[in-house]
């Protein structure tokens, strides 16, 4: 048997990394992924965009005034580390951009910085997740040789999701990310680490105090988020064990694994026909025909596997990560409400410092209202976007399945025709 079965315990296959480091990867292939030249004209940009995210509606294309692509991953080796730099190209007609075209190089850490800034500024907006830091080496290598390519695609989607967001795409940090040749000076500014600590402390404090009550619509939302997260990640105990904390969508991975194991066996199966064919005389031709059919079908299955690992698995994976994002957003909204409630209670119970407290309470009240409205608005947007993305991924998977079966059908039908042509007096029923 091949050595490609996926072990149940993956811990030894995980690459262990520090929080802030990029994933260390070994890649020889650093050229443009699909081998095609970068488009230059706006219309071909539109086509490029369509190819990558063809689930977006016509509406988005017509009003889009900013186009971002991520490509050209290149390994960088320094004395202390190795990492990958991605080229980020922006084309825009927006007036708040000085130029209409930008080209910068960014590493994974830079994307992480951008995302954390966006979340900081807009705690209750749903910021699309980034591809994960950790990689299950065994699985990725088996299904999709080019980890870099997978990550590049995910980073590309990330930036596109941001650029399509009505609020986030106008973020200062986003603009800096897209335009600054050197991001380092910008990254040093801002609260950064300390603010993260502060948020955690507040969150803990608030959870201790407890939330008075969640407004109805957010209670409904929370329930949905919990259920959604469950559906995306849920599985029986067996697969829980298999995927552990990997947060990959177990369903799609299982189907991928089972396909791979099937193809492995097919590869052992076809030679048994070929070898037997060599022994026989009259039967040589049909037996060799059989061997050839099995080989062809296994090739089709491999193509199917490739497609699954490039389209469905990443799409579901992204929404598993989204589920986590949603939970975080809900938590942050809860915290904002809790902070307001705490201060408000203080205002009601304390008799001193009424004026100062009132001011603080007003600020927190505004903040809470803004947070709630942001989330409400973004929620609908997110749901629509999720539906479009997953629908498109499922349709694509279904189409690929149909294609796979159609190709296999053709293989067997042509075998049948050749056999019946040989034997005298063809048999009747084609099932």
């Amino acid at each position: 048997m091949s050595g490609h079965t996926v072990p149940a315990d993956f811990s030894e296959h995980m690459l262990d990394l520090d929080e802030d480091e990029d994933l260390e990867v070994f890649t020889k292939n650093t050229s443009l992924p699909d081998g095609s030249p970068m488009p230059n004209s706006p219309s071909s940009m539109v086509n490029q965009y369509r190819l990558e995210d063809d689930d977006e509606g016509q509406e988005a294309v017509n009003t889009k005034d900013i186009f971002v692509t991520v490509d050209h991953p290149e390994s960088q080796v320094t004395a202390i580390e190795t990492f990958v730099l991605y080229r980020v190209v922006t084309r825009t007609t927006r007036s708040d951009f000085d130029s209409s075209e930008y080209e910068v190089r960014r590493r994974y850490q830079d994307f992480v910085w951008l995302r954390s800034k966006l979340e900081e500024k807009h705690p209750t907006l749903i910021v699309h997740p980034l591809p994960e830091k950790f990689v299950m080496k065994g699985m990725v290598e088996r299904f999709n040789d080019d980890f870099i390519e997978t990550r590049r695609r995910a980073l590309h989607r990330f930036l596109n999701k941001i650029s399509e967001h009505p609020i986030l795409s106008y973020s200062q940090h986003f603009q800096v990310f897209l335009t600054a040749q050197d991001l380092a000076p910008h990254r040093k500014q801002g609260p950064g680490f300390l603010s993260r600590v502060g948020e955690t402390v507040r969150a803990v404090a608030n959870s201790v105090r407890g939330l008075k009550s969640r407004p109805e619509e957010f209670a409904v939302m929370q329930e949905y988020v919990d259920d959604f997260s469950n559906k995306m990640c849920c599985m029986d105990k067996v697969t829980q064990r298999i995927v552990k904390e990997q947060r990959v969508s177990p369903v799609s991975v299982l189907s991928l694994i089972s396909c791979v194991e099937y193809v492995d066996e097919l590869k052992q199966y076809s030679p048994t026909y070929a070898r037997w064919g060599e022994l026989e005389e009259e039967l040589t031709e049909p037996l060799k025909g059989m061997a050839s059919c099995v080989v062809q079908c296994s090739k089709e299955a491999e193509e199917h596997i490739q497609h699954l690992s490039e389209v469905l698995v990443p799409a579901l994976h992204e929404y598993v990560l989204c589920a986590e994002t949603l939970k975080a957003v809900m938590r942050r909204r809860d915290n904002i409400q809790a902070e307001f409630e705490a201060k408000n209670e203080a205002l009601l119970t304390r008799k001193v410092e009424q004026e100062a407290l009132q001011e603080e309470v007003d600020v927190l009240a505004d903040r809470m209202e803004q947070a709630n409205n942001s989330l409400k608005g973004d929620w609908l947007r997110w749901q629509r976007s999720m539906k479009t993305d997953l629908r498109s991924a499922f349709i694509s998977a279904a189409e690929k399945n149909v294609e796979y079966y159609e190709k296999c059908l053709a293989v067997w039908e042509s075998f049948l025709v050749s056999q019946r042509a040989d034997s005298s007096g063809g048999q009747e029923d084609v099932a």
Binding site: Y262, D264, E280
Partner: protein, 433 residues
């Protein structure tokens, strides 16, 4: 598989009950497809569980199979008489076959379906009492009977006829043929190693072929079982999708309906593999038949080796006896013998003794010559008859296996069509989402 329709040539000429040397009924008007013989429609209609005490008085459960027979001409004339029937268990089929292979060592005797389930993949039961296994065995036993009853030589056998028609007393009749003794000696001979000087080249090639055929078919069957196992996994995993979609649809408003119906299609897809693989087991059974046929072919080749060996031994023996006679007559010792040595040491024997010994030798030589004649005929007959049957077997094998491969392709096509159907439906559901 055996010819479609259930026409077999079988049986007895009404007024002749002569039995030939090998137990077959003599019918001077026997011809291929000749209609002087009564034809019989045969089938193994049912299987039933029985309980009873076995030979060592222990309670056991076993399966019996119902054999139904009807005269072919009655059927042809449109009459529909009730079939004659009797029950037989697997061990009785085995007994019949053992009788046949001993009685007709120049025939590639059709094999029985496997005694125990082999090449099992994980969902397939290895239990002999499993209903699917019993059903496949029923089909296999029927196939066996049809093959035997349509064989130009075997179909004339009286014991076969009684097997089909006499429920009681059949076993005794088999043992009365004295085949058991032959069976024992055959077993000894076939498992012995002996060096044959001049085996027929064609038979040796055929023996080699039978070994290869066994090897290749068993490899193929093993690989197929593993593929079936994995394919089962692929389909069943989609049951997970079915479950996730249906649960997920409960929490979605717009997507709910689409997800729910897609989920149903996924469940249907997952369930469809059971029938698909059940059908494929029949294909596996067709291959298994030829796996076992290979053994039968090998046995015929070994029998040739045996007859050749016996002839060589007999010839060798005759030669050495003639040499002894010569030595005794001329007094010239060419070969070493203890008698010769003792004669030299202790003096020669008296002339009367010498005469006696010479006479004995002459008798032995005469016997030996008869033996050599017999063995020569035996060998030649076996070669001739076996070669005829081997050719028949080859043709049958090529035809049957080609058909089996075609059937497999048909099954694959059906499976693909179902897959296209299900996934097109699923796609429609997703489009409606």
């Amino acid at each position: 598989m055996a010819d479609d329709g259930r026409e077999e040539s079988l049986g007895t000429d009404d007024d002749s009950d002569q039995t030939g040397a090998d137990g077959s009924l003599n019918n001077t008007m026997v011809e291929e497809g000749s209609t002087l013989m009564r034809r019989m429609e045969i089938c193994v209609a049912e299987a039933e569980k029985r309980s009873g005490k076995n030979a060592v008085s222990m309670q056991e459960t076993y399966t019996v199979y119902l054999i139904e027979t009807r005269p072919m001409d009655a059927v042809a004339e449109g009459r529909n008489p009730a079939p004659d029937c009797l029950w037989r268990r697997y061990s009785e089929f085995e007994l019949l076959r053992n009788y046949l292979i001993v009685t007709y060592p120049y025939i590639v005797v059709p094999p029985l379906p496997e005694k125990r389930a082999e090449f099992v993949w994980h969902k397939l039961s290895a239990d002999n009492m499993d209903p699917d296994f019993v059903e496949r065995r029923r089909v296999g036993l029927e196939n066996f009977l049809l093959r035997v009853a349509s064989h130009p030589v075997l179909s004339n056998d009286k014991i076969l006829y009684y097997f089909l028609t006499e429920e009681h007393g059949w076993k005794e009749a088999v043992y009365e043929t004295g085949f058991q003794a032959k069976a024992d000696s055959r077993l000894r001979a076939l498992s012995a190693t002996f060096r044959v000087r001049n085996p027929d080249k064609c038979f040796m090639e055929m023996k080699h072929y039978s070994d290869e055929l066994q090897s290749h078919t068993s490899q193929l069957l093993r690989a197929r079982a593993r593929v079936a196992d994995r394919l089962y996994g692929v389909y069943k995993v989609h049951g997970n999708y079915g479950r996730v979609f249906s649960e997920w649809s409960a929490i979605e408003k717009e997507m709910g309906d689409g997800l729910q119906s897609a989920g149903h299609h996924m469940d249907a897809y997952a369930a469809s593999i059971d029938d698909i693989l059940e059908e494929e087991e029949h294909y596996a059974d067709q291959l298994k038949e030829y796996l076992f046929y290979a053994e039968a072919l090998r046995a015929v080749c070994r029998k040739h080796e045996l007859t050749q060996f016996e002839l060589e031994m007999a010839s060798q023996d005759l030669i050495s006896k003639k040499q002894q006679r010569e030595e005794l007559a001329t007094g010239i010792v060419r070969t070493f013998s203890l008698k010769g040595m003792t004669n030299k040491l202790f003096g020669q024997e008296a002339p009367e003794q010498r005469e006696a010994r010479l006479k004995l030798l002459e008798d032995l030589i005469a016997e030996g010559e008869e033996t050599v004649k017999e063995k020569t005929i035996e060998r030649a007959e076996h070669v001739e008859k076996a070669w005829v049957d081997i050719q028949r077997f080859k043709e049958q094998k090529d035809k049957d296996l080609r058909e089996a491969l075609i059937n497999y392709a048909v099954m694959q096509i059906s499976m693909c069509k179902k897959g296209i159907q299900v996934w097109s439906n699923a796609k429609e559901c997703f489009l409606k989402m």
